[in-house]
Symmetry: C3
Subunit: 155 residues, 3 copies
């Protein structure tokens, strides 16, 4: 029975899980930051999606013209959606991967490359970098998640 | 070794985790409800996104006119996307927070304020409330998630 | 104390959790596949969202015409968003369900029906099947998730 316990101790209270918790939190916070950047561009570009958001600009036609889409706002929103599409699978598969008993060094490599790639992806999207900058940073994060999924399914 | 076990018992089989499971399920169900509300508005407003969804209205032009966007449908969809952007980080960061050993009373405070804020946010979006009603309810949920992330990273 | 340990062993290192890990990884990978299908249609239909993505087609007006939306691309994107709206609640509620101590046979039934329904949903969206094919496959996955949420809240 003490073998089972040791196993459980390995599973949760270990360095891999601590590392996972740190990097998962970092990339989720980075994803949440996109909301603030969207709000920043909506306010500075005066481009809103809801009539009630433009009420402070007056009534009728004068406010209605701020109900519009703006290229900068749409760019941040695309980046945010891309985060949802990529960071959430990392969170889910990464959790199962962290519980599957990988080597700490291998796990850290996966987590760090993913976090780095997604941070670069955000800069590549917002500045923007010429392609294939954004494409490559996306593909690296994608490949890391696939690699973790392979380990989970093998275990 | 019995210290480690006690720790593990604390981690999963404890009241904080039970509370997390309850509130996380509630907000995920609330998020799923948005799908039903979208379907309700698509059917009552006759506004669909896919040609095959309008086939029951007849063929050709008579059905084609229902392939359109509708302000009510788009409003629910924006609310749904906002849920994805905010409830998912709560789920992820909240899980790691629940495993980081917070006080039960502090944890309950976080979970309850978040769940309340997101339920108010949904009403604020759908009714809609005048601003800053929706903005405030969004910011409260956001701040709760940041507070949990801070605890995770400190641990 | 050995009772608590046995409980913990049940919670994580058991067959239900292994089954959850397998099926959750499968549906998350299926969701990630949508990114590749979107990229495939964007490239073959020459329909891009960002100016920097069209730079390889030349400068100015000749490249600008590829900044457009395409029905096939939009269809895959709707399927991807529907995955985010449904597979993520399955991942979250399913995790809590797997930790709530269900029977293995019941749990496997939930996981397998969900995974099957979402794979059928993807084919129904992309081919597309006439309705109610897509609607039914969506509803089955939705009902499975609700059933798991009921078990979590009851526990």
């Amino acid at each position: 029975r003490s073998g089972e316990m040791a196993k459980l101790t390995q599973l949760i209270d270990n360095e891999v899980f601590q590392a996972y918790a740190t990097y998962a939190t970092i990339v989720l916070l980075k994803m949440m930051l996109m909301s603030l950047i969207t709000a920043y561009f909506r306010i500075t570009r005066k481009a809103f999606a809801n009539p009630e958001d433009t009420a402070s600009f007056g009534k009728g036609e004068s406010a209605k013209k701020y109900l519009r889409s703006d290229p900068d706002v749409e760019r941040v929103r695309r980046g945010h959606l891309n985060d949802l599409e990529n960071i959430i699978p990392f969170f889910g598969i990464g959790l199962l991967y962290a519980l599957s008993g990988p080597e700490l060094s291998t796990a850290l490599l996966h987590f760090r490359i993913f976090a780095g790639a997604r941070i670069i992806h955000t800069f590549a999207y917002l500045i923007p970098f010429p392609q294939p900058g954004r494409g490559l940073s996306w593909a690296i994060g994608y490949a890391v998640t696939i690699s973790m999924a392979y380990k989970v399914l093998k275990t």
